[in-house]
């Protein structure tokens, strides 16, 4: 597999969470504002790149029977490091993301990439894969976060976009708004894929 292909596949072909339909929990839960979505995406990207790197480095040492346990230990270590760094340098963000940062450990995308890609590919290629999927995830969460924040609060990155007469569509920043937003985006993407005649359409 070429680097170009690996670097690009996370941006459309395997775009999480829309195309993989993995990692929906953070995509629904922390995207009430773009700041949260972006922060969550970046934290997950960091964990993805380094978990892919470590797992790829150790892929010939880790015995097959205990691979899942080893992957989880490595991923959990990275997640706790991210959590502590966030608490030390981005405290308000870490308070808003709360429980969802430790929950990156069980994010299917990360374990999925470890199992499907990093455990059978060389180190640099695996890091490229982590970067690509991570950027895709970050962009997706930022998109959902932007839509919800703009419609639901009338702001973007906390900056008011409309005049004081704007009545925000509060429904969008509550939980049901997340489902609605994600559903509509998934629908649009599937319609676009179908038009392009691509084979993977989530049904």
């Amino acid at each position: 597999m070429s680097y170009k292909k690996v670097l690009l596949h996370g941006l459309w072909q395997d775009l999480p969470p829309f195309r993989l339909v993995l990692g929906l929990c953070p995509a629904l839960a922390v995207t009430a504002s773009i700041e949260n979505g972006l922060g969550m995406g970046l934290a997950a990207t960091f964990v993805l790149i380094f978990s892919n790197m470590l797992i790829s480095m150790l892929r010939n040492i880790i015995p097959d029977q205990v691979r899942i346990a080893c992957f989880i230990v490595l991923i959990a270590t990275l997640v706790v490091i991210v959590e502590m760094v966030m608490k030390a340098y981005f405290f308000p963000l870490s308070q808003q993301l709360g429980i969802y940062i430790p929950l990156i450990v069980v994010n299917c995308i990360i374990l999925g990439r470890a199992e499907a890609f990093a455990s059978r590919n060389p180190v640099l290629l695996s890091m490229a894969d982590g970067l690509s999927i991570g950027i895709g995830f970050t962009l997706s969460l930022s998109l959902v976060g932007s839509i919800r924040e703009i419609l639901g609060a009338g702001t973007w990155f906390g900056i008011p976009l409309f005049g004081s007469n704007f009545e925000p569509f509060e429904f969008m920043i509550k939980a049901p708004g997340a489902f609605l937003c994600l559903g509509i985006l998934l629908g649009l993407m599937n319609a676009y894929s179908r038009k392009r005649g691509e084979s993977i359409i989530q049904t």
Binding site: T77, M84, Y89
Partner: protein, 197 residues
């Protein structure tokens, strides 16, 4: 047999190295995390308790260690007199771990001026209601000589319905502060005096 020992060895090695890495990160970031906690969590709580800007109170900090637990204590002074204390303590037995509380005490009138929740991981919407003013204000103006109990145990504190564990943990934390005040006030005062000089 050799197969199994290899599995055990690799997994233990990975766990060991991970633990070492985490310890290093924790030790190097601990101080900074504590600073952030002071600024974003304890500061606002102290402002609520003493009605003074956080910066005036945050620097009046001592650490009082007893029974392997270190309690951060903040104090207010009027000249040489200690007028108020804010003691932070863990409340054991929460539904999802300890609930860290901070209790403000007027040392002259020997009564409680307020209760703040510093940190908890209780279920949102259920146990998280311990943060509500209506629950916390039950401690306001109470004396510090008697233990606090939930009404179901014959006390005067109303538990949050559906969150007995969380309510109990807060009661436990406040009782801890109460016993520190009752048993070790002299030691705390001398620590503060030493800090003032």
């Amino acid at each position: 047999m050799r197969e199994i020992s290899k599995l055990v060895l690799v997994l233990s090695l990975i766990c060991g190295i991970s633990a070492a890495a985490l310890t290093i990160v924790r030790v190097s970031l601990e101080e900074r995390i504590d600073m952030q906690n002071d600024f974003y969590v304890r500061g606002p709580a102290l402002e609520q308790l003493f009605q003074k800007p956080a910066n005036d109170v945050l620097k009046n900090k001592i650490a009082f260690a007893i029974d392997d637990i270190t309690y951060p204590i903040f104090y207010m002074t009027d000249g040489d007199m200690i007028t108020g204390l804010a003691i932070e303590a863990p409340g054991r037995g929460g539904y999802a771990g300890d609930i860290i509380i901070m209790m403000g005490i007027d040392t002259e009138a020997e009564k409680i001026i307020g209760l703040e929740i510093i940190q908890h991981s209780e279920t949102p919407g259920v146990g998280s209601k311990v943060e509500k003013v209506s629950f916390r204000k039950q401690w306001c103006n109470l004396g510090i000589s008697e233990s606090f109990e939930l009404r179901t145990h014959g006390g005067i504190i109303d538990a949050i319905s559906g969150a007995t564990y969380s309510s109990n943990a807060v009661v436990d934390g406040t009782n801890r502060v109460k016993s520190i005040i009752n048993d070790h006030l002299d030691e705390i005062e001398s620590l503060i005096q030493a800090n003032l000089d």
